[in-house]
Amino acid sequence: MTPPVLDIRGVTKVFRRHGSAPLRAVDNASLHVQAGECVALVGESGSGKSTLARIALQLIAPESGEVWLAGRSLSALSSAQLRAARLAMQPIFQDPSAAFNPRRTVRAILRQALAQLPGADVADAALVSLLERVELRPAADYLDRYPHELSGGQRQRLAISRAIATRPAVIIADEPLSGADVSIRAQILNLLAELQRDSNVAYVLVTHDMLVARAFSNRVSVMYQGRMVEEGPTEAVLAAPRHPYTQALIAAVQSLDEPWDAPVPMRKESAPPTQHGCAFFPRCGISGPKCTSVVPDLREIDAAHRVACHFALGNRSSGDTQHAQADVQ
């Protein structure tokens, strides 16, 4: 099997702040994505998903663990090779208005992006074709505009055109749709799908929106307090979530099609999570004694479906777990 385009292996990042306890933002987390695939990275604020995205992009150095790109560890590369590797991995950030230098025109923004490629053609024709790929038409009209003269949806398209300028193998998109109106959201997803068909680019889609994860990703990884708690094929995870946290996330989704009632609230975090037990323990409704003493590993429960929960693993058929699941759902 060809190696994943991006393979994040057991990375840990601890933020040490003056006067407070160190924060394990990412704790031994792994994530990989194959060419042409989309992996949704979901979780709430503070789960570490954006930090993990920044580690992958080499914007933050992890304490331990490695990032592999197309079968090579980035830590083994020379600085010239690392520059080239960075081009193969491009970000799209949440707020497209903050992502651009406001004093640069669209032409200057795209030229700068293209110029990173050795021997790249930066003539207007090349820029126009980039803009046309993100459906900003007539493209020539956009070249002399400034980012603030574009609508939010147009700016996000510009961000995408800049990301694809270096023909990346993987795009890491951090909440690219949050704040966008629903009609824009569907347009941007259509565009991302089209680019994927044309170039076989892989996506890591960081999102809090389970409907987007369900509609667009092949696989989903769920993060909680820096750790991966569940991962697997999107359909399997969303149809039969095994981790109580994933179950709570899915129970919170209010879709137009399935009747919804406010679920029973999770427990409040009364005790801080311990290093030794499950991070979700303080809020969990089904925890047992093992949960405070042993960190649950991710283990496979079904084809490529992995869960880090003592209960989802040990007592698969126990009435206890099923009852708890019914509660959460």
């Binding site: 959201r185 569907a186 259509n190 129970a251 919170a252 209010q254 879709s255 137009l256």
Partner: protein
């Protein structure tokens, strides 16, 4: 119930409202023709995308439009039977927080960062009833929003996003409102916190016998938390009715487009359904249907005039669309 009686008994009655913003020579007709009523005990939703005018409507209903910049150009607003359309800021001081209160999307921009939570709730409590035991009432209000009494001594930055939202609700409830307007109340919150706030809003509505007006871009949220819903587009209320009717049996092509896009429904070619065309230009005041340029069903009548609300399937279900009147059109 006749229209007059409905209006007399409603807590909020907005009719044919027009609101225009003027800044630096630019004129924006943010609300062009919007009508919304909320009856006692009802939970009503306003759905719309950015620029639809839904937040402006909420602010107009509370006298919170920016002075000098915004002006009401048409229509009327009545609160509990009293016409407040021409109220001065002083008159609004009397009204605000009595029958109607509001909670916003972003509690941090609303709360005072250097003032303890208790003092901020206390201010609202005293404005309503100067003789009350402020601390006791604060603790009662915190309990109502499921926060512990010791929160009175905390500052907003010491609280989580969900707790801040609850504090803002406690401040709003300090005046015992009959209608609580929630403008995107959960947009900035995590999914699980969102559901807790929604559950809280539900239970407060019952225990305090209060009406709710929820303004949101999230159709799923409105679907399961509101009895009736209005859809706004380019400053117009284009469809209204029972939530189920409007969202499952939409009559207006814009509502249908919005529902399909929200669902992320795939078309036959595998693409997600979107609403084509450009967002409306609010520098224009529309006489014709504002959706006409994006509508697949548009015909001559649509380019000439916006139709009156026309009955659709279901009680109280109306849409402003010529398609519903097509049979009645003169040849």
């Amino acid at each position: 119930m006749s229209a007059e009686r409905a209006a007399a008994s409603s807590i909020l009655d907005v009719r044919g409202l027009g609101v225009t913003y003027r800044t630096q020579g630019r004129v924006v007709h943010a609300i062009q023709d919007a009508s919304v009523t909320v009856a006692p005990g009802e939970a009503v939703g306003i759905a719309g995308e950015s620029g639809s005018g839904k937040s402006t409507l909420a602010r107009a209903a509370l006298g919170l439009l920016p002075e000098r910049v915004a002006c009401i150009t048409a229509g009327s607003i009545a609160i509990a039977g009293t016409d407040v359309t021409q109220y001065t800021p002083r008159q609004w001081e009397q009204v605000r927080g009595r029958p109607v209160a509001i909670v916003f999307q972003d509690p941090l921009s609303f709360l005072n960062p250097v003032m303890r939570v208790g003092d901020q709730i206390g201010e609202s409590v005293r404005r309503h009833d100067p003789s009350v035991d402020t601390l006791a009432r604060c603790i009662e209000l915190l309990d109502l929003v499921k926060l512990e009494a010791n929160v009175v001594r905390r500052y907003p930055h010491e609280l989580s996003g969900g707790m801040r939202q609850r504090v803002m609700m406690a401040i709003a409830l300090g005046c015992r409102p009959r209608l609580l307007i929630a403008d995107e109340p959960t947009t900035a919150l995590d999914a699980t916190t969102q559901t807790e706030i929604l559950a809280l809003l539900r239970s407060l509505r019952t225990t305090l016998d209060m009406s709710l007006l929820v303004i949101s871009h999230d159709l799923g949220l409105l679907r399961w938390n509101c009895d009736r819903v209005y859809v706004m587009y380019a400053g117009h209320t284009v469809e209204q009715g029972r939530t189920e009717d409007v969202l499952a049996r939409s009559a207006h092509p814009y509502t249908r487009g919005l529902v399909e896009a929200s669902r992320l429904r795939r078309l036959e070619d595998g693409r997600f359904a979107t609403i084509g065309g450009d967002v409306p230009d609010l520098r224009e005041r529309y006489r014709q249907c504002p959706f006409v340029a994006r509508c697949a069903h548009a015909f001559e009548a649509c380019r000439e005039q916006m139709p009156a609300p026309t009955p659709a399937e279901g009680p109280g279900h109306h849409a402003r669309c010529w398609l519903l009147q097509q049979e009645r059109l003169p040849a």
